[in-house]
């Protein structure tokens, strides 16, 4: 299609110079065998000009089913293939409609707008016919190769999330970390489910991370284990994170009794500044000893947190929390959006990913709540089972949901800080789970 563009330009210039004399062999395609050769101006009639311009319009690309248009891949032309009729016409239209739905969800429903807007717009750009924006030289392709193919952007996001996270609530009540572990059942339960419906083990592992309810982790794992499913996985992860307030409460209510939801928890002790300072180091040391495979994720996360807790580099930690994470979010969104091209997204696997993602999310919530019920039986201080639901990461959304459901059962019962403990432990838990999956496929 580059060829056609070049040719069109030449033709336009020619039309200015020469009058419309019908002369040369006006066939467009065969007249330019090699790209490098400088094309000579050829006189064209106005009808030929119109005709060749028509060839380059998006309308033609969508209407003409057998125009031989090629898909675009950030990995280069070896990975591209000629589009079938569906990919070059109807698929595009469906994808553009899906993008509009995502816009609607982001703007009107406020579903994770910070990510859905860039992702959806990237999807829109990726579906423009002939422009090849998702290709190796296209804008989206460049962004994709810059930071998603090599898993760099998710790590930067993780750094920012680390700088934003306060581990105080977890340190005040460390045993709630177990709940963040229990919720990872969502990941592994979904893994079994995904294999059962026919995904390969590797693909299933990438999909199941959606159950960790952690966008950057999902993208990190997907770009390593199943790059071709990245678009669907990212969209599923972020949509379900946005849907936390819809998905979680029914499960939480189903699994707890009215009395359990009314349990008031003891306020946590005051946490020493040094504890917070040492915590990221402790986590990182453990990661180094147990699971070096998770080091990129945990390393970035703890670095961000350490910069914050050190208290002497506020400039750096503010940068990570604000400008840096914002910039990276834009790039990450657009890059992921490039995977929303019709030829990559409108495949049967996407449907499977959406279903498994929902399953993963629900299982994680349920496992967290059940574990909290179990802990409540054995703990001397009462534990409200609702906080188990916050064990899926989705910081801080799921903690807020827990608090809301809690105060519905008993007005004035603020569970937010108690829920933040399992919530941040869930981030660590899903990073560890991700490390385990990576270590399996090493």
């Amino acid at each position: 299609m580059k060829l056609i563009k070049h040719l069109l330009l030449t033709l336009l210039f020619a039309s200015f110079a020469l009058t419309s004399s019908v002369q040369a062999s006006g066939q467009v395609a065969p007249s330019a065998p090699t790209e490098e050769v400088k094309k000579e101006y050829e006189p064209k009639s106005i009808t030929q000009l119109m005709g060749s311009f028509w060839e380059t319009t998006g309308i033609n690309a969508i209407v003409d089913l057998n125009d031989g248009e090629r898909t675009s891949s950030p990995k280069g032309s070896n990975y591209e293939h000629e589009m079938n009729w569906f990919e070059s016409s109807l698929g595009r239209i469906i994808m553009i409609l899906i993008v509009f739905i995502l816009f609607y969800l982001a703007i009107a429903k406020k579903f994770e707008p910070l990510l859905l807007i860039p992702i959806a717009f990237g999807g829109l750009l990726a579906n423009i016919p002939l422009a090849g924006m998702g290709g190796e030289g296209g804008m989206l392709g460049i962004i994709y190769n810059m930071g998603i193919a090599n898993e760099f952007f998710p790590l930067l996001i993780f750094m920012g999330v680390g700088a934003m996270t306060d581990f105080g609530p977890l340190l005040a009540n460390p045993k709630t970390a177990i709940l963040g572990g229990a919720a990872q059942f969502g990941i592994f339960g979904a893994l079994v489910g995904a294999v059962a419906i026919g995904f390969s083990l590797q693909d299933a592992s990438a999909i199941s991370i959606i159950g960790g309810a952690d966008g950057p982790t999902s993208i990190f794992i997907a770009s390593r284990l199943a790059p071709e499913l990245l678009g669907a996985i990212a969209v599923a992860a972020y949509s379900y994170m946005a849907l936390v307030p819809v998905i979680q409460p029914p499960i939480m209510k189903l699994l707890t009794t009215e009395d359990e939801r009314k349990i008031v928890m003891k306020t946590g002790r005051k946490v020493h500044r040094l504890e917070k300072l040492f915590f990221p180091i402790v986590v990182l040391m453990l990661a180094i000893l147990v699971l070096p495979e998770s080091a990129p994720l945990i390393g970035a996360f703890t670095f961000g947190n350490f910069a914050k807790e050190s208290g002497v580099v506020d400039r750096l930690s503010n940068e990570m929390q604000n400008s840096l994470i914002n910039i990276v979010t834009i790039f990450l969104g657009l890059g992921v959006g490039s995977m929303l091209a019709a030829d990559k997204f409108l495949v049967l696997e996407t449907l499977g990913i959406m279903i498994i993602g929902l399953l993963a999310f629900s299982t994680g919530t349920a496992a967290g709540v059940l574990m909290a019920k179990l802990m409540n039986k054995f703990s001397k201080d009462p534990i409200n089972p609702l906080i188990g639901a916050a064990g899926v990461s989705a910081v801080p959304m799921s903690a807020r949901v827990v608090s809301k459901v809690g105060s519905e059962a008993k007005p004035g019962n603020i569970l937010l800080m108690h829920a933040m403990g399992p919530n941040v432990a869930g981030v660590i838990g899903s990073a560890v789970a991700a490390g385990v999956l990576l270590s399996i496929f090493k």
Binding site: G180, I187, F188, V195, A204, K270, H272, A433, V436
Partner: protein, 77 residues
Amino acid sequence: MEDVNLILESVKFMVLGMAVVFSFLIILIIVVNLQAKIIAKFFPEKAPAAPEKTADTDEAHHVAAIIAAVTEFRKNK
């Protein structure tokens, strides 16, 4: 036949994964509790208490009073 094998395989992943996640977090809990005890022993609550005090001293009140007076003075000018 192969299907069954794969599912068994994924169940093994689950056992391994959950075991690692739980042991990681349990070790973390133990270390964090230990750390809290050590810190409480060697660095008794001093650091957080100190800044709270300074914020509430007479000096702070004086400064506030002076600032208020100055702004009032400027307004009247």
